[in-house]
Amino acid sequence: MTERERVFLLARIFDLLKYALRYAFYAWVVWNAYLAVKELAGKSTDASFFFQYIFSRDNDYGLPWAVALGCAMWAIFERRFRKQKTAELTARIQELEKRIDPKRTTSGLLASGDTNPRDEIV
């Protein structure tokens, strides 16, 4: 096995450990949610109670969640706009630079600045 292959294999093992820890955490969240719901089994529950709780005065009328949702939407649109603008400017910059250096080399990223799908970690 070459040094390059050993590095890749070891890095993938570390990555797998990270994924295992992350999904173990998600499994723990789901398990705790299940236990919480199970605890309420047989007791009188009202599905609308959760909504009443979210929008209650004790929960600040759900405003923190509304703010979080608003910020998330803004971030998504801002990011989309930034990538569109990057793609538009990239074409112009490449053309201008090629007029100065016809043998100009490229980084290999997509026009939007995203990683080339061929280079994604497999």
Binding site: E3, V7, F8, L10, A36, K43, R79, T105, I121
Partner: protein, 187 residues
Amino acid sequence: MNITAAAEHMELLVSLAILVCLFYGPWQQFVVDVLRQNLFRMRDEIFMCAADGKIGFDSPEYQAIRGRLNAMIRYAHTATWAHIFAVILVAPKHQKPAFNITSIAARIPDPNVAGMVLSNYNKAVMLVTATLMVRSLILLTCSVVAVPILIVLALIDQKSMERSIAPIGDAIERDVDSEQERRLAAA
């Protein structure tokens, strides 16, 4: 557990899960984008030097530096502690990376350009190191304690600090070499 406590518990769990998803999703992409933007800026600086005639577009030094920055930009998304740690463990000790910015900069006729190239390249390696830290939840948490200590150490003895972080810089360069070779072999 009453229903109010259950609802609070669920809210906490959902919030934690969203935070973890945010850290391992959009945050990772954002950090890589910031690193790439800084590397592009450095690449543009050397391009402008060449456009001003301070270094030739056809010179081996310009080609080597631009190629290196292109590779760092292209494979920025693979800059994780897992890769760097793997390189540090596997690479033969005391074997320097093939790419030597110092010898390349020494061949540049214009001393100002040579100084700029050396300074920018070292900054690029520092940026990649910083990216590794902020992409990892554990390293980010540890850095809250470690960074003030590192700053104090740097103020006391900068040379020792540079020597102690040099293996990380070497590992980053070897990782870029390794990634380029692996992709070429797979192509």
